[in-house]
């Protein structure tokens, strides 16, 4: 394995809810404070802050954490790939020595905010996205205004071109729900999802049933990133590699030459090479799951199997509790909460520390976390037990 990039020494979460009186900034700050407590550090010693664009100003961290000398901050704008991408920025910053102790926080008020994407009145038509001209002139006039509609163009292409088994999407939905029953923060904990219920659920857009589509949530999660080995007593998890990737036409899903290309297509082989590990070495994966099909496509682009074969991979290996390749052991966006994928980072750290409670895997030494967002931007962490 390579020289570690950094360490994640603390994790923190707010309550994950559907309904809150708190602002996104307040939630992020609360999660950040809890991550400091978990790391066993004085919040005032934080010297870096990284958040997805628009969620919290770094000045607010100075105020809320009492930071004495903030010497680094950054934001990124990759939608669902943002939080994991922020961890990658923090890891690079501590590796470069521009900061020593960085808080990374993400989440928000997606459910209680003023523009819910599932709003029937058309609120999604005014949400800003990258490639605004493409959205406004080439998609929204044709009734494509939300991610499920955009991504369905990729999903239908994938199903048609590769002959992938659409039942793989149901398998992801059911396995993710099974994991959620072990997680105290999971919105769908204790609510069984059966094959019959999945099949009976409405198709909102071909080929996605209701249960292929993630929920909208309120809440935030945070991690503390430090130089690997900075503190002997830290219950750290090592970041072996971290980064982001972008498709050839990153702001348009349909005009890129290879419609199935994603940011992860370029990113995954790059990071596995940097970390000196292979996809087959992984004990688990926490994969961004805004849609079940995105999990399947990421399994393929990670290099775990060929394009079109992820449904077979899921069936043969088992990704639910007791499976040989567990995915989203906290219940993911689909069944735990939509904390923009920062909840996936928290769960990966807990698994590697052996602190995942009822969801704890018996063999968790090496794991991967991915983010996926906007028009298929990718981000990824390869994490190892300290």
């Amino acid at each position: 394995m390579s020289t570690p990039l950094a360490a994640i020494t603390g994790v923190g979460e707010t309550a994950y809810t559907r309904g809150t009186d708190l602002t996104a900034t307040a939630l992020l700050l609360q999660a950040g404070l809890r991550a400091c407590a978990d790391a066993g550090i004085d919040p005032s010693s934080i010297d870096g802050a990284v958040t997805p664009q628009g969620k919290a100003e770094s000045e607010q961290f100075v105020h809320a954490l009492g930071i004495r000398d903030l010497r680094f901050h950054a934001h990124n704008a990759m939608g669902g790939a943002g939080p994991v991408g922020c961890v990658a920025i923090a890891a690079a910053a501590v590796r470069a020595g521009v900061a020593e102790r960085v808080v990374v926080a993400a989440g928000g008020t997606q459910f209680s905010g003023n523009r819910r994407m599932s709003d029937a009145g058309g609120a999604a038509m005014s949400i800003p996205w990258p490639g605004q001209g493409i959205r406004d002139c080439l998609e929204r006039p044709y009734g494509l205004s939300v991610p499920m509609q955009w991504y369905s163009l990729h999903a239908n292409y994938w199903l048609t071109q590769t002959g992938a088994d659409p039942a793989g999407m149901r398998a992801v939905a059911l396995a993710t729900r099974e994991h959620a029953h072990s997680n105290a923060q999971a919105y769908f904990r204790g609510r069984e999802l059966t094959t019959e219920a999945y099949d009976a659920s409405p198709v909102l857009v071909d080929p996605f049933h209701l249960f292929d589509i993630c929920q909208e949530s309120d809440g935030a999660a945070a991690v503390i990133v430090e130089r690997d080995g900075a503190r002997e007593d830290a219950a750290g998890v090592t970041v072996l590699a971290a980064g982001e990737g972008h498709a050839d036409v990153p702001d348009d899903l349909v005009t890129r030459p290879d419609i199935m290309q994603m940011g992860l297509t370029k990113l995954a082989p790059r990071l596995f090479a940097e970390a000196g590990v292979t996809p087959q070495d992984l004990d688990f994966a926490q994969l961004y799951d805004c849609f079940t099909f995105v999990v399947l496509r990421q399994i393929e682009e990670l290099g775990l199997c060929a394009r079109g074969e992820a449904p077979d991979f899921v069936r043969e290996h088992g990704i639910g509790p007791g499976g040989s390749f567990p995915i989203n052991t906290h219940g993911g966006l689909l069944s735990q909460a939509h904390i923009a994928g920062m909840n996936h980072v928290v769960e990966a750290v807990r698994q590697l520390r052996g602190e995942a409670g009822d969801a704890q895997l018996s063999d968790a030494h090496l794991g991967v976390v991915t983010g996926y967002g906007d028009m298929s931007d990718g981000s990824m962490l390869i994490l190892a037990h300290h």
Partner: protein, 141 residues
């Protein structure tokens, strides 16, 4: 974006999309072509991806034919105008001129939409604004 209750149609057009949107209003499908190098930019861009040129001429695509590369059928809409039209289809078409164009599918039944379907396109009214509309048709080879 429009806040009106009709079909969404760009009201304030980014400069690089102005020629295209104005073309639709005339009933034409217009794409920007780089003056220095002749490369068509689709979707429209402010800088040519081939030569970094910044001057474009607006070219009318006379022939709109091709085969469906991918598609979607929307069964629950998230906007009132479209909610009245579900299920509706959107087709992404690889055209004979080498551009991949997204448009409304006006086939006899929306479920006839599939990959490889030959289609013909035209710019015509859809609701109270113009649109690129695809219908099943033969591709001349």
């Amino acid at each position: 974006m429009s806040t009106r209750t009709g079909r969404p149609f760009p009201q304030e057009t980014p400069a690089e999309f102005a020629g295209h949107v104005e073309g639709l209003l005339r009933g034409e499908f217009v794409v920007p072509r780089c003056r220095p190098c002749d490369a068509v930019q689709w979707p429209p861009r402010t800088v040519c991806g081939q030569c970094a040129g910044t001057e474009f001429e607006q070219v009318v695509l006379g022939e709109l034919r091709g085969e469906v590369t991918t598609w979607t059928i929307v069964r629950r809409a998230f906007h009132p105008w479209f909610a009245d039209r579900v299920p509706y289809g959107v087709a992404v078409v690889d055209t004979t001129v080498g551009l991949r164009l997204t448009g409304w599918y006006a086939g006899p039944e929306v479920d006839t939409l599939r990959a490889g379907l030959p289609v013909q396109g035209s710019v015509e009214p859809l609701g109270d604004a113009p649109a690129l509309v695809w219908r099943p048709g033969q591709v001349e080879r």
